[in-house]
């Protein structure tokens, strides 16, 4: 029994180690004083208000949202198309293409970031928002692809064959049958892409054009000057966006899946 108790204690310790720093950030974001010290002397939302009034941060937030939303949409569309080709059709070079599409997961992000940058230099393309978006699509695509592919394999081709035998052409079949059956995976993949893009800092540092900041790079820049309590507040907002959103999304996906099985 002591073995079990030890295991329990150890588990709790690991979780504390992982989540305590996060909890401290969230807690300090509600601190009324400039410098965080325990015990806290008062609760306030002043750092959130200052956050709201900080133009640079609001701008970074807008950029991040736009970037993540576009990344999610583009990655999802490409991911669905790639999954359809890889699951439903046979063609030469299929394994190679699968490997190439999944490769960004296996390659360290720094390497990927530098590689894309060198490639763009070779093409004489300057860094721009489009390049940033391209980079984000490249590293989020494998996740969308894997999730959609897994679901598509489980959808028997008879559904599509039945639809086509009833007179629907391939495109009509996709929208009337395949896509609705894929929806839970599409939704999950899209959320994946969104949060990954929203969170990303490594690739973004390399690809972003001058003067454009996303939330993570903005935080990074702010840390270089001073440790402002605003960062705690921003951190809290980030946590809410990247944790709550997938949780809600998973809930929706599960309900969709339940009504479609």
């Amino acid at each position: 029994m002591t073995g079990w108790n030890f295991l329990r204690l150890y588990t709790v310790a690991v979780y504390l180690f992982m989540f305590l720093p996060v909890a401290v950030v969230v807690l300090l974001s509600f601190n009324s004083r400039q410098f965080g010290s325990f015990p806290m002397e008062g609760l306030s939302f002043r750092w959130f208000v200052e956050l709201w009034n900080n133009d640079a941060i609001v701008r970074a937030f807008r950029v991040s949202l736009l970037l993540a939303a576009l990344t999610a949409v583009i990655s999802t569309v490409l991911g669905i198309l790639a999954a359809l080709a890889l699951v439903r059709y046979r063609f030469p070079g299929k394994n190679t293409i699968t490997t190439l599409l999944i490769a960004p997961i296996l390659i360290p992000e720094v390497v990927l970031a530098v590689a894309l940058l060198l490639f763009l230099r070779w093409l004489d393309m300057p860094r721009s928002f489009l390049v940033l978006l391209l980079g984000h699509v490249i590293f989020t695509l494998p996740f969308v692809l894997l999730v959609v592919q897994a679901r598509l394999v489980a959808i028997r081709p008879e559904y599509e064959e039945a639809a086509r035998s009833l007179g629907a052409n391939p495109l009509q079949t996709f929208f009337a049958v395949t896509l609705p059956l894929l929806l839970p995976a599409v939704f999950a993949g899209m959320l994946f892409a969104f949060t990954m893009s929203f969170d990303d800092i490594t690739g973004t540092m390399f690809w972003k054009p001058g003067g454009v900041e996303t939330v993570p790079t903005q935080i990074f820049a702010m840390l270089r000057h001073s440790i402002s309590p605003e960062i705690n507040a921003l951190g809290t907002v980030m946590i809410v966006v990247t944790v709550a959103l997938p949780l809600i999304g998973m809930g929706v996906a599960r309900r969709l899946a339940a009504s479609r099985s």
Binding site: A163, S165, L166, G167, V177
Partner: protein, 366 residues
């Protein structure tokens, strides 16, 4: 001829890589008839059906439906109704929307859709299910809805791919009767694929027996059962004993066949496949035509009566299948039980009548 034929297969061949799944197949399916493609798994029956459906393209040959060559026509332009083995009802659509699906891609005025769907649901005897989802229905009900969805579009041909195999035994026999009733009622040309010989015999106007990508025999159920063309057909339908013999003189009506250790049987010439005098051939003795009697029964005039011993009994309630050792061979006999079944070790007389037998060429031994 061209007018009365609904589906024609002209020399179709299907190769997958180096493997030939269907060898040069010709078939003419009459308008309004119920034709079954019967054979063991891997015989090419499903491949043939999928080629007719347009889910596979033949490597060679031509497919004609209602006088129109459809060999290269995509499936959604062929106007066929297909019922799949696992129903393939759209799980995210209600029963109504499932049945109405095909109508939405045709020029059916919106106002007529509801009426057509209602009539189809009535035909399969599930009129009040429109609002439900497929998962709320039993397997048998889902099968009926799949049928309704396929026939509501008034297809030129109805294709059924082992539609009964996912149902349990009792339901399967009910559905068999039901399916046949609907087919007769609509008069729709139907192609049915199965590996179950009793389904084929019960439902078909014509049976196409297939083996290893070849058509072995085409004929009415009774014809295929009573006068098999080959040893394969004889074995595949029902329980048959195949005994090797040598063909002797023909008397016009009958052909005499000598079997070592058994004697001479007079087989009807109409079921002798024209096998000539002096040739070796197999005699087909159906298990239900091998009659077992007590050892002291008086022999029949037109029959051979052979002493044997029961070596195994497969009791089936109203009948029993016996394995009988006769003249060094093990024969099967399927006999109704009158008072009590024979038991293992009983000495019996096995009675064979020549007029119940048929002759087929010897099997090609691989």
């Amino acid at each position: 001829m061209a007018n009365s034929s609904a589906v024609q297969l002209n020399g179709i061949v299907k190769r997958f890589g180096g493997l030939t799944a269907v060898h040069r197949m010709d078939l003419d399916i009459e308008e309004g008839s119920f034709v079954t493609l019967l054979g063991p798994s891997g015989c090419g029956k499903t491949t043939t059906l999928r080629m007719i459906a347009g889910l596979l393209e033949p490597s060679e040959g031509e497919i004609v439906i209602k006088g129109r060559s459809v060999t290269h026509t995509p499936i959604h332009k062929r106007n066929l109704g297909i019922v799949f083995q696992n129903y393939a009802l759209f799980p995210h659509k209600t029963i109504f929307d499932n049945v109405a699906f095909g109508l939405r891609y045709r020029d059916v005025p919106r106002g007529e859709i509801a009426g057509k769907v209602a009539r189809a649901l009535e035909l399969v005897q599930l009129p009040d299910m429109g609002d439900r989802f497929p998962r709320q229905l039993s397997g048998g009900q889902q099968q009926r809805i799949a049928l309704a969805r396929a026939i509501v579009i008034e297809p030129d041909v109805l294709l059924l791919d082992e539609p009964l195999s996912a149902l349990d035994a009792n339901l399967r026999e009910d559905m068999r009767v039901e399916l046949k009733r609907i087919q007769v009622h609509l008069g729709i040309t139907t192609i049915f694929v199965t590996h179950d010989q009793s389904e084929a015999l019960a439902m078909s106007d014509r049976i196409v027996v297939m083996s290893k990508g070849h058509v072995e025999q085409v004929g009415a159920p009774e014809e295929v059962y009573r006068s098999p063309k080959s040893a394969f057909v004889a074995r595949f339908l029902g329980n048959a004993n195949l005994v090797e013999g040598r063909v002797g003189k023909s008397s016009g009506e009958t052909v005499s066949v000598a079997v070592e250790g058994i004697g001479e049987l007079l087989v009807p010439a109409s079921r002798s496949r024209g096998i000539g005098e002096g040739a070796a051939a197999s005699i087909v003795v159906r298990a239900e035509k091998l009659f077992l009697g007590a050892e002291d029964d008086t022999p029949h005039a037109d029959a051979l009566s052979l002493p044997g011993e029961v070596t195994a009994v497969d009791y089936q309630g109203q009948a029993a299948r016996y394995f009988v050792e006769v003249a060094g061979r093990t024969l099967q006999a399927l006999n109704p039980i009158e008072e009590r079944p024979f038991r293992r070790g009983d000495r019996v007389n096995a009675v064979i009548r020549g007029r119940d037998c048929a002759l087929v060429p010897l099997e090609d031994r691989p």
